[in-house]
Symmetry: C2
Subunit: 397 residues, 2 copies
């Protein structure tokens, strides 16, 4: 079983900072700098073009995909990394609608990350065949899965509230009604054990820069269930998804299984950082991680509710409905978060009124939780947030 | 004027290697390792999520795009980096066909890189409205630009032969016939001065890991002409191309100008390597580069033709029709290239019979050219390529 009191030492955490934003961008593993330097100097520098073979760059996207696959309950050989999460959403969605050609409704919820909705809107403009993106409240997804639905496109954990959908039940209902289930694991991969195969998910996508700690701009991943692996049609038909990329044929022929979801040249330097991050994850017991995550989020909820009556919990209390973050509503949420950050407690703000805190057992301690709650209470008690400096929103947050 | 005898020292080139494959993957600049380490340790490690603002990660794609823009004759503010070249081809093509809605033919040539053709094929499958990808011989492009053509999709320099299209004339003809011109600069950017604005190009895309030396998996770039900047419709409608990404609106609204061609989170670590590479390019006089490139390719053609009568030149002799590479045909091209690589002369092979050599003034000397030609002649004279070891093709080259 993973000893979470020891894993903290695997990360570089700035002195005096309590980092509760690993659900947005994970911190730097101590091993990453050397691993990246190795790829830059020893691989690229010494092997140049030969690195594609000599250093396994060409095979790396699938090898890295399988290491993520273990964390999300995927069958080996059905996950590959590359591109960004938005691109992977587009690929999954385009393949999914093609697998269900007689239906025209993509169902999602308004707690889905906006980029997923935008990518669906962009796809629908291309398709131009009376497709509809139907967006309902998260709680209404289940009731809206009908025989009209071609594809459900759901982010398992709501990026605002941390509310977790029931993947197994919703996938089952989608299948009962003849729909294809696409899952976005942005706030799931590395947050708790996901069971894609057990849930019969059709497609899944996610990113590696949040809980997985692979760094800013780290590549995304995509999973295609074995039953669709050789029938899913790649809309983004790039040469590295071709069955024989180096034959330079004039016509596209999709590669075997998940290989077809590759597009262009993989980001070799970012892959080195992902490799370093996954070397930590390779050792993590995901059930133990979940237990520890729930202990941390429970502890924070209890401490904040005891000392900050002005805040309203936005995250479900039921464990089964919770990811690995805790969110509170407050009309001055933006200013409160600025005051927190100024005091070394880093969470983030999401419009219109959400204070969001990520809990990551690999490097978050009980003492961090207690101190964060204490500082939050001081800021609220003393209205330390109520200054023009904190209330003026920056363009980018 | 750039002193090319001094720029060679800015690159790490392995002892004993004559590297003539910078048209496939450029070598490592000596400054890159430190620049990448800075981003990993000082930026990500110390700033964590704050890096998006503190370290200008969010603004970097456009700033880097403008530095590439100088090399390709783009108006400032109209080039942005991100994703891979295949993705950027898809974006440009999808926007271009939408700007010419009454036409259904995309014209390209069989010397275009296959991934461009594949991406067009994938787009056409999505559009499903009797679109046609018409592929002709490179020499027949001009005659085939008619009033039927919606978009011309042409790679300026043929990846096999190094043959260069006349961008200005073809763009003019496209416009005369009411077509939109999309240019792929994969073998142009950093190879010679490109004049996008002067040629009235509508869209251009390219990669940065070849002549620009930004490393394996470096991001691509896209240019949209000012006249289309606010009308081009993004098919890959990612959140970072939204007019207000952090407002988290439910509906997509394209960003201002070139910003709308951003999709997802930019690859921050790869951007650091691109920044280091462009710091060299910022100082390069592109006219001087072109003169030196032509001197190198002329010298190699003359030396090889004098000593290797078995080889047939595939690259045009006319300077105006030449990129910065030289290719020869030989039925045993694969084995000959393996024998060359074994002797430290690194070019590459492209099916079915092409030996390809890239010439890059920043680090290729006259002595490299002479030695490469001498070793090539020895291999041919003594049939050193004629061994089972060299004749057995590897899966990946």
């Amino acid at each position: 079983m993973t000893d979470f009191s020891k894993t903290r030492d695997l990360f570089h955490l700035p002195e005096g900072m309590i980092y509760l934003d690993g659900n947005s961008l994970g911190p730097l593993p101590k091993s990453t700098a050397a691993r990246v330097a190795q790829t830059v100097t020893e691989e690229w520098g010494a092997h140049l073009i030969g690195g594609w073979n000599d250093c396994n760059w060409m095979a790396a996207p699938k090898a890295l995909g399988d290491r993520i696959g273990r964390l999300i309950g995927a069958e080996p050989g059905h996950t590959v990394i590359g591109d960004t999460l938005s691109i992977k959403v587009f690929q999954a969605l385009a393949a999914a609608v093609t697998l269900n050609p007689d239906r025209r409704v993509i169902l999602s919820d308004n707690g889905n990350f906006p980029s997923d909705l935008y990518m669906a809107q962009g796809l629908i403009r291309l398709l131009d065949r009376d497709y509809e993106l139907r967006v309902v409240a998260p709680e209404e997804i289940e009731a809206n899965i009908s025989e009209e639905i071609a594809v459900t496109m759901i982010t398992e954990v709501d990026y605002r509230t941390g509310r977790r959908h029931d993947m197994k039940a919703l996938t089952q209902k989608a299948h009962d009604k003849g729909a294809i289930a696409v899952w976005d694991l942005a706030h799931s991969a590395g947050a708790f054990p996901v069971q894609l195969a057990d849930c019969n998910a059709d497609f899944a996508v996610g990113c590696t820069y949040k809980y997985l700690n692979a760094g800013p701009g780290a590549p995304a991943f995509i999973y295609v269930a074995p039953k669709h692996a050789d029938t899913a049609e790649p809309a983004l038909a790039g040469w590295l998804g071709h069955d024989a990329p180096f034959a330079f044929e004039q016509g596209y022929r999709p590669g075997q299984g998940i290989e077809r979801m590759r597009v262009g040249t993989p980001p070799v330097i970012q892959m080195a950082a992902l490799d370093a991050a996954l070397t930590i994850w390779d050792q993590v017991d995901m059930q133990a991680l979940r237990a520890r995550s729930l202990a941390l989020t429970d502890r924070f909820i209890a401490a904040v509710e005891a000392s900050c009556p002005e805040l309203t919990l936005a995250t479900p209390r039921a464990h089964v409905m919770r990811g690995s973050q805790v969110s509170f509503h407050h009309p001055e949420g933006y200013a409160i978060m600025q005051a927190l950050i100024a005091r070394g407690v880093v969470g983030d703000f999401r419009a219109p009124d959400i204070l969001r805190f990520g809990f990551t057992p690999l490097y978050t301690s009980d003492a961090d939780v207690d101190m964060a709650a204490k500082i939050l209470a001081e800021i609220l008690d003393q209205r330390l947030w109520d200054t023009p400096e904190y209330k003026t929103r920056k363009a980018v947050t």
